[in-house]
């Protein structure tokens, strides 16, 4: 028994030291959120304790609420788009007699596995004023649009759906494979339509996976910094300043570290709530 304890401790401790480092960092940031610490200037060296004033300011800050609203619009559109499109693709591809399944899967997956910054660069060029999107539209007879100044949030949303649908698609494809084909055969004999098969067989049986997928991509999209930051930097003005970009701008552009830390913790709280919901749901699913 003592040998087991020794073994457990010695194998776990290196990893726990790393975790401890993270906890210290978080603790230090909690402290910082109660001070007026700046990245530069006199308060960088000797920050003053100002209590809850950062949090008070936060609830009076119109840009904070702006970023919350933008984040909700951005996240819900992207999540809805990725989930619906992912399910649509997975269902189409799992039909019998579909020949180009793997070609489509590879194309969609390619857009997902390339590094974030390559997605940003490629999508930015695609939707650029002189980019491919506008030249395709010109072929159809639509005049060019300055997408990044006229419809910035929409461009980011569609770009993220383009680059992120693969995750949902892969997940749903493996979930659909677990549905026994006999059920569909029985439905065929009863003469049900494709829509009925989807509505009464596929959807209920894939429901747990759909829920897990929704929760995961909600959390990831909510905190996804690189894509929107790389495309627009939060601009023009504050039009695409979603939550993570807002934190970056406050802390690293305006040097308000203390305030940025306070904003981070509200974000962590929001994500934490979604996570708790996720864990409760997992427990329920395991019991079923």
């Amino acid at each position: 028994m003592r040998e087991n304890t020794k073994l457990t401790v010695s194998m776990l401790s290196p990893t726990l030291i790393f975790l401890f480092f993270l906890l210290v960092a978080v603790g230090w940031a909690i402290y910082a959120s109660f001070t007026d610490i700046m990245l530069l200037g006199p308060t960088a060296k000797s920050p003053q304790f100002i209590g809850l004033r950062n949090y008070e300011r936060l609830f009076k800050d119109p840009f904070f609420f702006n970023s919350l609203i933008k984040s909700v619009i951005y996240t819900s559109s992207v999540v809805a788009g990725q989930c619906v499109l992912g399910l649509f693709l997975a269902v189409l591809m799992s039909q019998k007699g579909v020949k180009i399944k793997s070609a489509v899967a590879v194309a969609v997956t390619l857009c997902w596995i390339i590094p974030d910054i390559v997605k940003v660069y490629t999508w930015g060029a695609f939707a650029h004023y002189e980019g491919t999107l506008n030249s395709i539209l010109r072929l159809v007879g639509v005049s060019s649009v300055r997408w990044f100044s006229e419809k910035p949030l929409e461009v980011c949303i569609i770009g993220n759906i383009w680059s992120g649908t693969a995750f949902s698609m892969i997940l749903f494809l493996s979930a659909l494979e677990t549905i026994p084909p006999q059920i569909y055969e029985a439905a065929d004999i009863d003469g049900s339509s494709s829509w009925q098969k989807f509505r009464y067989i596929t959807l209920p049986l894939a429901a747990p996976v759909i829920l897990v997928d929704l929760l995961l991509i909600t959390i990831w999209t909510f905190g996804y910094f690189t894509f929107v930051f790389g495309l627009t930097g939060g601009g023009p003005g504050h039009a695409t300043e979603i939550y993570p970009v807002f934190i970056y701008n406050e802390a690293f552009r305006l040097y308000k570290i203390g305030y940025g830390a306070a904003v981070s913790f509200i974000m962590t709280a929001i994500v934490g709530m979604i996570c708790i919901g996720y864990l409760i749901l997992l427990r329920r699913l395991e019991k079923v």
């Binding site: 073994l7 457990t8 194998m11 290196p14 790393f18 975790l19 480092f21 993270l22 960092a25 978080v26 230090w28 940031a29 693709l89 189409l92 591809m93 007699g97 579909v98 180009i100 489509v104 194309a107 969609v108 997956t109 390619l110 857009c111 390339i114 590094p115 974030d116 910054i117 390559v118 660069y121 999508w123 930015g124 060029a125 695609f126 650029h128 002189e130 980019g131 491919t132 030249s135 395709i136 383009w162 892969i170 897990v212 995961l216 909510f222 905190g223 910094f225 690189t226 790389g230 939550y243 993570p244 934190i247 970056y248 830390a261 981070s264 974000m267 994500v271 996570c275 864990l279 997992l282």
Partner: protein, 270 residues
Amino acid sequence: MRYPETIAIHIILIIIFIFTLIPLSWLFLASLDPAASSPTAKIPTGITIENFYRAFSGRPLRWILNSLLIAVSTATLVTFLATMAAYPFSRMSFFGRNFLLYGFVFLRVIPVSTFILPVYLIYVKLKLLNTHLSVILTLSILGIPFSLLLLKGFYDTIPITFEEASWIDGCSKWKSIFCIVLPQCGPGLAVAWFMTFMSAWGEFLIPFILLRRMALMPLSVGIFTTYGEHGVVNYGLLSSMSLLYAIPPILVYFFVQKHLVKGMVGYIKG
């Protein structure tokens, strides 16, 4: 399956296929175009590898090497730590085991952007800003949960009876791990290493915040900084850099694909 329906499905899939690939095909064409000056996809007038040559010299080469250094060190460190830590989670019962395991799932799921400010502040205190070490450490912390859960899943599939037999023969616990368990989870170790490599290779936010010196940047931050640096955007060079940057993850993904889906489903189930 009715015939017209199959045709309709094919048409929809082909349209999606084309629309998905249009932005990427521009990337490919522009990297080979000797006169790539606009972001519009067009057939290049000639083909050149000049852009790739330039991406492999001077500053871009430096960035590629930085990316490689960061990704390889992170992947090795994470695999080493996770190999050890996953064993007790799979074989022993100890105080706080489930709590820790859920903690790791939680850590895996929350976005990096919530951590970045605390981590930045601690590196300011430790005077480790502008070092590769800070980036490697941070990426390792964030990479451990995935590898740990993946490897725990691999250990779980290895019957404990092998180890028990070796203990009876007088083998020590450590020796049984090295001689019995590890040789059987080679594929698991490879998947953990490559997956961590892939995510560390593509990471943008952490090096962007922690490294402010040109010579230290990985390729992701380098591409971001180069874009619009001198007013005129050099699409040819940027495209070839982006393409080079995208190749390793693509190779890794199609190499570990089957295991990845299993691992993904595995850690979703906890």
